[in-house]
């Protein structure tokens, strides 16, 4: 065997050995990745909403969720935003996201100054213990967020 071909072979083999585990782990990730028609991870959902803009954590948002939810299928979520609702300065949207759900988006609510207050309440399903995040968009284009973790005893997504 020539030295050149031997080295080439060695290179290819080591490359394959290096790539092998990566491919395997990628496959495992694909298996573990959320499934379903609308599956979307939390990071991608935030990216889609903010289109890359910075999100600041804020104490102006009052996110009310139970600390422990016995039934993950019905978890009440309340979002109160302490912000004026005037003609040119109002809460434009409230997005409710659940970080670990297959589809992390729950509801996108577009508000107008007619609402009088930045408030939204609903009930959501949570698959497991995770953080619920309220992402608020103001009319000037800035984003605020607040998150709280909820302990789920029985998952709600069958």
């Amino acid at each position: 065997m020539q030295r050149r071909s031997f080295l080439k072979g060695l290179c290819a083999a080591s490359a394959a050995a290096a790539v092998g585990p990566v491919l395997l782990s990628a496959k495992e990730e694909a298996n573990a990745a959320p499934q379903g028609p609308n599956a979307l991870s939390y990071a991608m959902a935030v990216e889609a909403i903010t289109s890359g803009k910075a999100v600041t954590e804020s104490t102006k948002i009052d996110l009310i969720v139970p600390e422990i939810a016995e039934n993950g299928a019905v978890v009440p979520v309340k979002v109160n935003v302490d912000h004026p609702m005037e003609e040119n300065n109002y809460v434009k949207a409230i997005h409710v996201l659940a970080k670990e759900n297959g589809n992390s988006r729950c509801a996108d609510v577009m508000l107008t100054p007619l609402n009088g207050k930045g408030y939204f309440a609903t009930r959501v399903k949570l698959a497991k213990t995770q953080e619920v995040v309220a992402l608020v968009e103001l009319s000037d284009g800035s984003f605020l967020s607040a998150g709280k973790s909820v302990k789920v005893t029985i998952g709600g997504c069958g």
Binding site: Q35, G36, P37, N38, A73, V74, V75, M85, A98, N101, G102, N103, S104, R105, C106, A107, D108, V109, M110, L111, T112, L114, N115, G116, K117, G118, Y119, F120, A121, T122, R123, V124, K125, G156, C157, G158
Partner: protein, 113 residues
């Protein structure tokens, strides 16, 4: 329109309010909100997805809140938003689901005093 008529309800809280008050408007609807991942316990087949995707709150035909909703919202959903009462009028909530089912529900807005 679906053959079966869905039961839905609009509630205003508090019951007595004046012009200029901020009240909460709740919309409750009987809807399965199937995720498309659950199995039917009787037949063992996977139930197709059926969930609300758009809900719009209108005041006299003008939308004041529009929502995009996903299957992660609970069965028999409940949505609550606030409204600053501008005067007498009619609140309508229109909804569509992912299978194309449509519907609406109306309630009168009657401020006193």
């Amino acid at each position: 329109m679906a053959a079966e008529k869905r039961r839905s309800m609009i509630k205003m809280k508090p019951k007595k309010y004046k012009v200029g008050d901020t009240i909460s408007v709740d919309f409750i609807i009987i809807h399965p909100m199937d995720t498309g991942m659950q199995k039917d316990k009787k037949t063992g087949n996977i139930k197709p997805a059926k969930y609300l995707d758009n809900v719009t709150f209108l005041l006299d035909g003008k939308p004041f809140t529009t929502m995009k909703v996903w299957e992660t919202v609970s069965t028999n959903p409940y949505f609550s938003v606030n409204l600053k009462v501008p005067g007498e009028g009619e609140i309508t909530v229109e909804y569509t689901d992912n299978t194309g089912e449509k519907g609406s529900k109306s309630a009168k807005l009657k401020p006193k005093g």
